[in-house]
């Protein structure tokens, strides 16, 4: 009967839209996670296995901010999130800066050593979190105006906090792109990563640029971690969950390309949500990993790497 099939169509359409939105939401989450890593790995060739723990740093900062607001500024709870994100960025940015200057820069040109050293750092950070915050999970209170969902039609419910994340990711990605491609500093940064000797010869302080790039990557991780408190709780092991996913996204997309990272996050997110619909969560994960490994086999430099003269 016409009415029933229209109803069915609307419901199916609704499901489709929500599926797409799930994919979109996951895409933005992966992108946000991978962005900081792409900057550091892609621009500088530094493998930071502690990237997940820096995200956790952002998350814990947010938790602390929320607790502070709860206790001292309960009236301003509605806006604590913005303060928290900003604070998370600042804390992780500073940490990244110091880390690069004091630690990372000794391992340039030794990528495998950087991998191991930063893995060691991640262990130390994890234990620090455990000792300071305890081994159990902590979560932040829900921001009132972000709970609930937007329901444009009866069958479509899009959670508000996820919409917020999508919007924020778009803003952040645009911001990063603008910084790198439209500012003087961005130009200098790209010059240094492409030709260090020349850049130094024309008077660019390559050390500072290095530190700032790394700090930027860490800051982005901080924002990601902060934002994730809205969709999950935080414990000392949270960083480990994120790190391999982030690497896979970056490596899959092609290390030297922001566009590659974006495209890769998109593809992986879509694959994951579709597969999860068809099989169990863990099997979906296995399938994705195998797929990525296979693609990497045929295009070892990622999907979007350009062929460079040796």
């Amino acid at each position: 009967m016409p009415t029933t099939s229209i109803k069915e169509a609307i419901v199916t359409f609704g499901i489709l839209v929500m599926q797409l939105f799930n994919g979109l939401s996951l895409f933005t989450i992966l992108l946000l996670m991978a962005l900081g890593l792409a900057i550091v790995f892609g621009l500088m060739g530094v493998i930071n296995m502690a990237h997940g723990e820096i995200m956790a740093m952002g998350a814990y900062t947010t938790y602390l901010t929320a607790s502070f607001f709860e206790r001292h500024l309960p009236g301003l709870m509605d806006v604590y999130l913005f303060v928290a994100i900003l604070l998370a960025f600042c804390v992780t940015f500073a940490f990244g800066y110091l880390l690069e200057r004091g630690f990372i820069r000794w391992f340039y040109h030794r990528p495998l050593d950087t991998l191991l050293a930063t893995w060691g750092l991640s262990l130390i950070l994890q234990q620090t979190y455990r000792s300071v915050f305890g081994a159990q999970e902590v979560s932040v209170p829900l921001t009132a105006w972000l709970s609930g969902a937007w329901e444009p039609t009866e069958s479509i419910q899009l959670p508000l906090n996820r919409i917020f994340i999508v919007a924020l990711t778009i803003l952040v990605t645009l911001g990063v792109w603008l910084i790198l491609h439209k500012t003087r500093w961005g130009l200098r940064a790209r010059a240094v990563t492409q030709n260090r000797a020349m850049s130094s010869a024309v008077g660019i302080d390559t050390n500072r640029v290095d530190a700032l790039i790394f700090a930027l990557g860490s800051g982005l991780a901080g924002i990601a971690g902060s934002v994730f408190t809205m969709v999950g709780s935080t414990n000392p092991g949270t960083g480990q969950l994120y790190i391999v996913d982030s690497f896979i996204v970056v490596v899959f997309g092609g290390v030297a390309s922001l566009l590659g990272t974006a495209a890769s996050s998109f593809l992986i997110a879509q694959m994951q949500t579709t597969l999860e619909y068809l099989m169990s969560g863990s099997m979906a994960k296995v399938a994705i990993l195998l797929l990525v490994i296979t693609v990497l086999y045929f295009r070892p430099n990622g999907l979007f790497a350009s062929k460079v003269r040796a």
């Binding site: 495998l112 050593d113 050293a117 893995w119 060691g120 130390i124 863990s282 994960k285 296995v286 086999y297």
Partner: protein, 343 residues
């Protein structure tokens, strides 16, 4: 003291044999000896890592895959023997009706032994050759190995009924009727393990002294040049990776015997990366160093986890950083410098 490198190495091997065959069994009681046995299992892997990473530059962060394979192979045999004629207990708890087909062969000791030594060979070789042919960089290889070990862990845990899931396989009692839980049994296993380990270290040393050993170094430092001398470097790398895989598998089997249990965590990234550090601490260019490193780090882990559990991760993390930053060639290098061994 001024010793030549070759003499130094002979001393080291002799010292190790003395330590493992003489000193430790005499000085330690059964509990401690068992612990030593556990860590010696890791040292098999460490030797493989010295060969593949130290000498050939191949960093694999997925040795847990092969270690786990050997461990689970041995565990399956032991479990079947312990549960016979019924199904293993965890299968019963998961309402598994029949022994999965891939368990069947492991009721035979011969098949189990053969699979521990032989199965890793084609798997490791084909995987490594296919990848190295493509000139994938070291970093990508490391990341792929992490991803694969993660994948396997997920698979393993997911199939709870057939693999024991997150709890792993445990509760062994005998090996071919021979009691392996009592002190005498454990001591016998210790001797077998040490025997195998010393054989492995000797073979590794011989390999490294041959022309092939120089080739490994050449491939590590200047792979392009080696190819332009007419060598198929992918074959060389795949070969040494396979050797290290077999060593890991044997280590895993020994671990199952010594520890009395195997769990998916042995396969995963955390263990795999820790194994690299064992080798790095001892000295990534020293076979004997790797064994000693495994023992040292292992003991520290036991001690700290028991008395100051909070500090273990700090210590491990610091160890990673220290080894990479200050002592890239590990304690063995320190020794060499102290004894002023001529390079």
């Amino acid at each position: 003291m001024n010793i030549s490198a070759k003499q130094g190495e002979r001393f080291a091997h002799a010292g190790l044999a003395l330590l493992l065959l003489g000193l430790l069994p005499l000085a330690l009681g059964p509990y401690w000896l068992n612990l030593v046995g556990k860590y010696l299992a890791f040292s098999f892997v460490a030797v493989g890592i010295v060969l593949a990473w130290g000498y050939c530059g191949i960093l694999s962060l997925g040795q847990g895959v092969f270690f786990g394979f050997g461990g689970y192979a041995m565990a399956m045999f032991l479990k079947l023997e312990a549960s016979a004629p019924e199904l293993p207990d965890f299968m019963v708890w998961s309402s598994v009706e029949q022994l999965p087909f891939w368990w069947e062969p492991y009721s035979s000791f011969g098949v189990t032994l053969a699979s521990i030594f032989l199965v890793p060979i084609p798997v490791a070789f084909i995987f490594a050759y296919a990848i190295f042919r493509k000139r994938v960089s070291g970093v990508y290889f490391a990341i792929v190995t992490i991803a694969l070990s993660m994948t396997l862990v997920v698979l393993n845990i997911g199939q709870q009924g057939e693999t024991g899931g997150a709890n792993g396989i445990t509760d062994f009692s005998t090996l071919l009727g021979f009691d392996i839980i009592n002190d005498a049994g454990k001591k016998a296993i210790y001797w077998v393990e040490v025997g195998l380990l010393l054989a492995a270290t000797t073979l590794a040393a011989l390999l490294l002294h041959s022309r092939f050993g120089k080739l490994l170094i050449a491939v590590r430092d200047r792979e392009d040049r080696v190819r332009f001398s007419g060598f198929d470097t992918a074959m060389i790398k795949a070969f040494i990776f396979t050797v290290s895989a077999v060593l890991s598998s044997v280590g895993g089997a020994m671990f199952a015997l010594q520890a009395g249990l195997v769990t998916p965590s042995l396969i995963g990234a955390v263990t795999s990366v820790e194994l690299v550090i064992y080798a790095a601490v001892g000295g990534r260019l020293s076979v004997v160093g790797a064994v000693v490193g495994a023992l040292l780090v292992g003991f520290t882990k036991s001690y700290l986890s028991e008395h100051y559990p909070e500090t273990w991760l700090f210590f491990l993390g610091a160890m990673f950083i220290f080894v990479v930053w200050v002592l890239p060639n590990g304690l063995a290098d320190l020794f060499r410098k102290i004894l002023r061994v001529k390079a």
